[in-house]
Amino acid sequence: MAVASLTVEGIAKAFAETRAVRELSLEAAPGEVIGLLGPNGAGKTTAIRVLTTIYAPDSGSFAVDGIPYSRPNVIRQRIGVLPESAGYPLQQSGEEFVQYFARLFGHSRRSARETAETLLAEVGLAERAASPIATYSRGVRQRLGVARALVNAPRVLFLDEPTLGLDPAGQRQILALISEVARERGTTVILSTHFLDEVEEVCSRVIILNRGEVIAEGPVADIKRRAAPRTARVRVPEEMHESAVSALKRAPGIAGTPAINGARGLISASLDGLDASGKAGNSAICALLEAGIPIVSFEVEGGKLSDAFLALTGEVGE
């Protein structure tokens, strides 16, 4: 593994009686996209504000690109941030806006102009660069915000709810952009979001926060397996329930003893989830067919990040 671009060790932040973030630790490699998940008030924005030097941590420490948090001005040279509620000077054009921030990061006038031109082209705003921001839709403004966050070629990019309020097309554009930034620039991306589909699509790892506490952390597949095991729900003719249970017990990939739900006539079998490709489900179907048991219906439940999220946070739904 290359040198970590972000190392966080047990940071905590409280406001009066509220402990917004408790003991958050993580290590991120260049090019990695890490999802920061959690319901409203989980502490995602506070965690990002601590890591972007807006708030000082109450305890713990972190380093960006090896620079300790005690040197915030140097850290700011190495990070890019798209805040949750980023306002824009509506009278400025997109190119003026990006150029201004490039200059704040120390680019010369000429270099700022070139940087703005390159970045606006990368986020697909080359044609609208000269238009006032007031004429931009929310999705276009978010893409502009990503361009602005990249003016210093950051080692770590923090995106706080970048797709909030966007239509599906706008969401797709932003997600594609995030993947591209991580893949092509080697930038570490910390993506805070409510939208679980987004995390499944672009993140290699996920951290789930609830009431300021990390309740799960790891690769997306691991979290899903640990928190939301997949279950096969099989319906077979009632007189064949016992033989179906025996057949399923012998099938590879079935964990424990399948249970018969008498009232609904369904057999539930836990798939061990070791394979993401659904082979455990296939082997269950094969075992039933080989035993000569006709399958009336077969469904697989669970195994989604949303199931894991709900199971871990106890939320009714986002």
Binding site: R49, S85, G87, F101, E184
Partner: protein, 274 residues
Amino acid sequence: MTTLAQGEVRQESALQPPAEAGAGWLVIAGQELRDIWLSVRGPAIVFGTSLLLSLLTYLAASNEELNIIDQRDTVNLVAQITMALAVAVILLFTADCLSGERERETLESLLVTPVPRRQIALGKYLAAFSLWPVLLIVAVPYIWVLREGEGVFADAMLGTLVVGTLLVTGFASLGLLVSVFSGSNRLSLAVAFFIFVLLLAPTQLPLGGWFGDLIVQINPMTAGSTFLHRVIVKEHGWGEDLDLLIAPVVWAIAVTAVAFIAAGRLRLQGSFGR
């Protein structure tokens, strides 16, 4: 662009940032100056001031029936009005400069740049301050037209420049100070303007006795205004009333120092009025 495997770092980039951020205050001041002077705000203030001074000068210079005050008094009035207007306008600009960014949700993006907090404040302060020399220049032709006797023009201009610069420095810093801590723009503007009115009011009152003298001496507005009146109208020499400049000097230095110390502690959320 080539695709990198996870963990690899791009060695060369077309967008390599400079190793160190430059003079951020200069960049911020430049942007703010464009915002003031290339928008409606700056030119509108200049136009409004010109209109007011034109009206005053026209009445004083052409209408003998309405021209009930001495020419020197009129010059003093133009100087005082220019100064008070500049102080009020610049105070409102600086009171808005940070709390306004907070309210428009643009402050966070600024705080995550490597520009130190004090430089952010300095850039905005200097841009707001630019109104003062412009308004002073606007007053020049009016004072020239109204001048009477040798040396009035020079005394009026120099006196307005000195006293006005001291007062504008202090009040601009006051606005900045309030803006650093205010969570709401409306509150920031209200508090700053209230303090301005509180200090301006005694200049319009007939102050007498030891208490009146004390107020004149310690209130930077009354002290500055009285100094200007004595130089322009009473034709006092500059050295005669230097004690009247103590309050404006102390005001300018003290408030500016406090404002810029506080600016180093600029936070995303204000301390009051959230």
